[in-house]
Structure formats: structure tokens, C-alpha cells
Symmetry: D2
Subunit: 143 residues, 4 copies
């Protein structure tokens, strides 16, 4: 099964648009992720908070939020160069507010800097209904 990274490397950044194509691995839980807008250096996606993404409190799992930082940060870098997904160096996330099961998320990934060796992105996970940021993080990758 091809991943979004392989698909984008082949078809270009526009292949990010639409339903997320999982690699059949850990990102399989995010199959309802949908990229609704891309431009050079940024990606906007939506995702419903379904039970398979939640913790035992019925809110978005902290690990799922960190995984979104990884996935959507990578997507943002692929808009700059579809052939360079890179390898994770550092990820950090701050948990501002809980995302409840049933809510719709609006996730934006933005390239802060990309160079020969390193790419830096910021990913904000907001509640779509009021645009309140719930989780924010950064993803540094070696390219």
C-alpha cells in the first residue's frame, strides 16, 4: 500500500488534496483526515474526533495530537518539495484545551523554514466551530 508520502513524491503536492492516504501503519487511525487547502508552505485539513482517536476521558488522545503534528507537519514540507519528506528530529506539543469526541478539527500545518538540511513546521489543531486552538506543536525534520 502506498503512503501519502509516496503518492506525493510521484504526483506532486496536489496529491495531498482530498482524503488522507494512509501507509497502512500507525497513521491508519487518521483515515478521515481530509486536506481541504494547500499552498506553498501550508496545508489545511479537517478531521472529526472519533472514538478511535480518543483517550479514556473521551477526548483526543495526546498521542493522536502529536501524531497529527507529525503527519500535517510532513505534509506542509511536501508542499515545498514533494520528494523530500525527511526524517523526524524533534516534535513538541502543548495541550491547551481538550478536543471532545464528536467535535470537528481544523488543522493547519505551516513551514517555518526549510533549507538544505532541515525543515521546521508549526501545526495548530483548532476546533472548527469557533477556531479556538486546542493543541499546538512544532516538528523539526532532517531533509
Amino acid at each position: 500500500m502506498t503512503s501519502f508520502i509516496q503518492r506525493v513524491a510521484k504526483l506532486g503536492a496536489n496529491a495531498l488534496l482530498g482524503v488522507f492516504t494512509s501507509s497502512g501503519g500507525f497513521d491508519g487511525a487518521f483515515k478521515e483526515l481530509r486536506v481541504v487547502a494547500i499552498k506553498a508552505g501550508s496545508v489545511t485539513a479537517t478531521l472529526p474526533v472519533t472514538k478511535p482517536l480518543c483517550n479514556s476521558y473521551g477526548t483526543l488522545h495526546g498521542g493522536a495530537a502529536a501524531t497529527l503534528v507529525d503527519i500535517v507537519g510532513t505534509m506542509a514540507l511536501l508542499t515545498k518539495d514533494p520528494r523530500r519528506a525527511g526524517v523526524s528530529v524533534d516534535i513538541n506539543t502543548s495541550y491547551l484545551r481538550a478536543a471532545k469526541e464528536g467535535e470537528e478539527l481544523l488543522i493547519t500545518g505551516q513551514v517555518l523554514k526549510t533549507g538544505k538540511k532541515l525543515g521546521f513546521t508549526q501545526v495548530d489543531i483548532a476546533r472548527k466551530s469557533d477556531n479556538e486552538v486546542l493543541v499546538t506543536g512544532r516538528h523539526t525534520k532532517a531533509l
Copy 2:
């Protein structure tokens, strides 16, 4: 379905030992996680790197590693007080080396500090065969 947090709150820290009990949500991918040792302030667990934990390169997904920091950091805090799992404040992870599909991981969670309001943990994800640290992170929780 009860989560490990609910089970531990009821039965005490020893309920962490053995096979990980998922909440039926995002942590479902970690059902082969097994806690092999606990003491006050630390937890040791093992986990095989199976395909459902991997990225499209066939190595442990960065988001899976961050989720392990969340889960095993929480477990370490539960050894101190089984009724206080807390809520995530900050998670950070550094990716030193790739964990390949088929390898066995040894994960240690250690409480750095726990107080009235906050708990801090460090989680190291090592390769069991040679004890080399692959990913290291910290998890701060509001208790």
C-alpha cells in the same frame, strides 16, 4: 471498556503489571505493550515494533513514539498515586535512531518530579537487543 487508568485507580499500581489494557481508543495499537517491572516512580515495559506501529519507511512512526511517551509517562505517575493520572500539558520527543519493524523495544518511564499540581516524567525508548536509546521524551501533566 475500562482503560489502564481506570483499572489502576481501582486496583492500585500493581494493576499496571502485565499486558497493557487499552481504553479501546487511540491506544488500541499498543495492545502488545507489556509492563515487566514497576517500582515507586518508574515503569519498564516491552513492545515489539509491529507493522501497525510503523510509518511508510517501515520504522516506528514518530507519532507512535510520542504516544508511548504519553502512555508510559502516565503509567510512571500512576505508580506514585494510582488515582491521579492527570491531564497532558507538554510532550516533547527527540528522534535519535530509527526503530525497525520486528525489533523489540524496552521502554522506561521515570517520574522526575511530582507535586500537588504538576508531574514531570522522562520516557526512554530503547532497542532491547543492545539497550541503545532510539527516542527520548518528556511528559508534563497537570494533576
Copy 3:
């Protein structure tokens, strides 16, 4: 000697405007920091990159940038409640581009969330001439 925290606690958030008042301690190196705008939840400041702020490469020291995240993040929180400066929990910084000696910095601190127990801020350090972000970080405080 009173610090900006003490001055603000007494006089209110408007006391942040103008030249930075050091506590006579580690923040003494930032005496040319000047707050040029405040509103509820955000602070804008300027600072020339002078030699006492640099590393041996003649660029802004990584520690100086992290200290700015601490100081300006605290200022942003004080605009929300001048009596609650809080205590640092976590700071993280990503270094995108070097700030050279002689350049003028534009630093913005923004409250991401403030509650009963915790405050989260983001601080961006940009080059004033072209508004390019050089360093970005987050500061979590217990209030």
C-alpha cells in the same frame, strides 16, 4: 531593585510599555528591550542584537533567545493579569535562522491560553527589517 514583574503587579499592565526594567539579575543583559505595544494577551517589543547578547559566532546566543521567550512570554501573561507572573514549567525554542550582531529584533509574545492553574504563550523573535522569524518558542507557566 524592582523587576518588571513587581512594577507591573503594582501599576498594572501598562507599566510594561517602554524600556524594560530589569530585576538586576540575569535579565540585566536585556536592558535595551523596549515594549512598543501591548494589548490584552499580547506584547510587542524591540531589541538590538548587541555583543553582550551574542555567542562566539557573533550571532544572538541560543540562551539569550530562550531567555527572551521566558521574559516576553511572562510579559504577555501579565497583560492578562498583572498580579500573576507564574513560575516556569516548560520552555522550548526552535532556531530557524541566525540573528546577527547589529540587527534589530521585533519580538512578539502572545498568550495561547490562560486558566486557573496554567498559562501558555508563544514567542516569535523576528528580524525587524524584513519580519522574518528567526527563533520561535513556547513558554508554559504555572500560575
Copy 4:
């Protein structure tokens, strides 16, 4: 004025031992830092918490702690290769306990991984009297 980086590049890692040689810039506040032990991949240093290192509460400034992560993390990398100090990519710090003015600190920097392109270190700042860790952080550098 030569920095410790320049001195070590010329004289080798043993030049780290003894009193810290500042570059005459931001690290000037750390002139009482003393490296008491080095081996390949780790550095141990002592430092008294003097007033110039403190915040307005009379405890070690969060920015000073982050600067120590930068300085001592760099030193640890220099024990591996004295000619490659690298450039900061990411720094993070967690503040577990306050370091009070007058206390003596024991700071250990440890290389977690060093490769062709990147170096990762962990720095722990402990109170010397009881070895309690007060601040812990990681420093990622591009080499």
C-alpha cells in the same frame, strides 16, 4: 577574546577542564562555571547560583537554565569532536524545582547521539548538596 569553542577546537577536549572561558558575550554571566570532569560524551560542571544568574524571585532564571543547557550540551558534543560545535536546532527545558541563590549546582551534559549531521544531548542541572535534579533539558544541534 576566544571562546571555549575556539579554545577546544585548537587544544582538544581537555581544554574544557577548569574554569569556563567565555566568548565575552552572553555567556559572560557564567564565568564561575567550572568543568570538573570530562569523558568521551559527557561533561560534569559546577556553578554557584549567584545573583547575576537569578530572576526577581531570587532563584536561577529560567533563561539562565536554558543557557546552561546550550553551553553544557555544546561542551558534551565537543568531547566527541572538538572541531564540531554545531549550530542550535532545538532546545527544551522542564523546570522541576527552583534553584536558590547561594546553592551550588552540579550540571551534567551527556551526548545521546552524534552523527554526520546532527547531535543530541541531555543536560541535567542538579543541586549539589543532595543531587536532586532541578532543571532538565535537551539540546539538538546541526553539526
